[in-house]
């Protein structure tokens, strides 16, 4: 029996396990998944929790429900990988040997990396929606908040779901309007990037959103520290932004064991070939989902399209054939813009999001880079597709690489 170990049973790990039990000859393979957490979170749902659109129970299911019966699941924490010995050591000292390893342990937030964030005011005047508990605590906070200056700050890129901070602000605008207190709330976006929109076409098409919603942007803001007593964040170039409520997107990093195993870059992401997802250093380690350093969005959508191609590529690789260098960084994402509307963006490593129409079977063509009610409904409907199609390892009726069909290029 050949041994395949998959580290992480979240979005990418679960999808690839379900895919591979069908593409591999399972009488020749033993597949083992390792994850410390028995709960599978629907992370796209966290955005909606602070505003009471979803609550906690809408955002999780037991992992065991989605692990294929042909694979073994171990609930444990990972101490390290020893790539030279082809084995994984768990914190309880269990040793797992592998012929092939898939790293799919994603990325997580590290608020401790920014002085002042995770101290006395964390959970009081400093919040995040980048964790289940954080999103629930923020919902409590917003329910009773009397208004003031709400600052959303991204500590550093890359982050999971790079559009989520903007979506949060647009939903906040809607939420406070609904509650009749928008005039008592200032909304500010402090981002390390040169602006809220950095791609030329998106910038041209979407800047009006922030203007009409009166969301102010503090660009190129690299936070050095939060000052929780003075309620302000301070940048490396000594700019200060005061807040009454800080919604932080803390530094995102790959898992600590990746660093301990010498497999990661400065942020514990594993360097890979961005088309095949094979590790640059080890020819029997692949990295799927947010855990790699590919220059794509850290998003379930990217993991899904990559895995669509990986299933077949992996079999080719095992047969000693050349892999199709096919993954193009494709992602498509619904972007909530508030008031029951949303946008849809479709892009890859080289093609920025364009306006046009996105052909989706059944639901019909959806507007790209333009607000519509259908896009919002699409985003809400996606939760059921996530659990019933994607996490079962089934294919969506969409091509894995990006298509220019329906996109307007002039």
């Amino acid at each position: 029996m050949k041994k395949l170990v998959i580290l992480g049973a979240g979005t990418a790990g679960t999808m690839v396990a379900n895919r591979l039990v069908r593409t591999l000859k399972m009488n020749e393979w033993q597949i083992t998944l390792v994850d410390k957490d028995p709960v599978h979170y629907y992370q796209p749902g966290w955005l909606f929790v602070p505003f009471g659109i979803y609550d906690k129970k809408d955002c999780f299911k037991p992992k065991s429900k989605y692990i294929p019966s042909q694979a073994k699941m171990i609930q444990a924490d990972i101490q390290c990988v020893e790539p030279e010995n082809n084995r994984v050591i768990l914190t309880d000292r269990t040793v797992l040997e592998y012929d092939y390893l898939i790293i799919a342990t994603g990325a997580d937030i590290y608020p401790d990396e920014t002085p002042g964030l995770n101290e006395g005011e964390w959970g009081k005047s400093i919040h995040t929606f980048y964790s289940m508990d954080g999103a629930v605590a923020l919902a409590d906070k917003l329910r009773n908040w009397k208004g003031g200056r709400l600052v959303v700050n991204v500590v550093e890129n890359p982050i999971k779901c790079p559009v989520a901070p903007l979506e949060f602000l647009m939903l906040a605008d809607w939420f406070f309007h609904q509650r009749g207190m928008r005039d008592r709330v200032e909304l500010i976006y402090a981002t390390p990037l040169p602006g809220a929109f950095t791609k030329p076409i998106a910038n041209k098409k979407l800047s009006y959103l922030l203007e009409t919603k009166n969301i102010l942007v503090e660009p190129e803001f690299m936070i050095e520290r939060a000052d929780p007593d003075a309620k302000k964040i301070v940048s490396y170039d000594e700019r200060e932004v005061e807040y009454d409520l800080l919604v932080s997107v803390p530094l995102n990093k790959g898992a600590d064991y990746v660093g301990r195993s010498g497999l990661g870059d400065a942020l514990n992401y594993v360097p890979v070939n961005k088309h095949t997802l094979l590790s640059n250093k080890h020819n029997n380690i692949f990295v799927l989902g947010d855990a790699s350093n590919i220059p794509a969005s850290k998003a379930g959508s990217v993991a899904h399209y990559a895995i669509d191609l990986f299933g077949e590529n992996f079999v080719r690789y095992l047969e000693g054939k050349e892999m199709h260098e096919t993954f193009d960084g494709h992602a498509n994402c619904f972007v909530e813009s508030g008031y029951g509307k949303g946008l849809l963006i479709d892009f890859n490593y080289t093609q920025e999001p364009l306006p046009g129409r996105f052909p989706i079977p059944v639901l019909g063509p959806m507007k790209l880079l333009e607000e519509s009610r259908l896009n919002h409904l699409g985003k809400l409907a996606f939760r059921s597709m996530y659990w019933n199609i994607l996490m079962r390892g089934l294919s969506m009726p969409l091509p894995p690489t990006m298509s220019m069909a329906g996109k307007w290029t002039n």
């Binding site: 903007l166 950095t198 791609k199 490396y236 170039d237 400065a266 942020l267 220059p295």
Partner: protein, 105 residues
């Protein structure tokens, strides 16, 4: 997309003056672009950062983030802000002939 002459060489640039083909970059161009960014003289410390960033972009195809630079080139973030005041990520990217740091939209 347009072209402009920098340090005696015609190169492709985008609307904001970022070079779009890193292969057209030369050290002389870097010196010229640095002056436009208000840095009159590129010291060894500047070059260490610029060279690291070009090396990093060769692998990733993207201008590196600040944390990648500080870890990889061994400079502190404070130091980086002193070398390339007011927005080092963007300045380093422009001087090194790489694209502007950007998000997905």
């Amino acid at each position: 997309m347009s072209t402009r002459m920098i340090a005696g060489k015609t190169v492709q640039v985008n609307e904001e003056g970022f070079m779009t083909n890193p292969a057209e970059w030369t050290k002389e161009i870097a010196e010229e672009l640095a002056k436009e960014e208000g840095i009159d003289c590129l010291t060894d410390a500047h070059w260490k950062v610029i060279e690291f960033s070009r090396e990093s972009a060769k692998d990733s195809g993207k201008a590196p983030t600040l944390r990648t630079i500080t870890t990889g080139a061994g400079v502190s973030t404070k130091e980086l802000f002193m070398l390339f005041p007011k927005g080092p990520a963007k300045k380093v990217a422009r001087i090194a002939g790489l694209g502007k740091p950007e998000g997905c939209v």
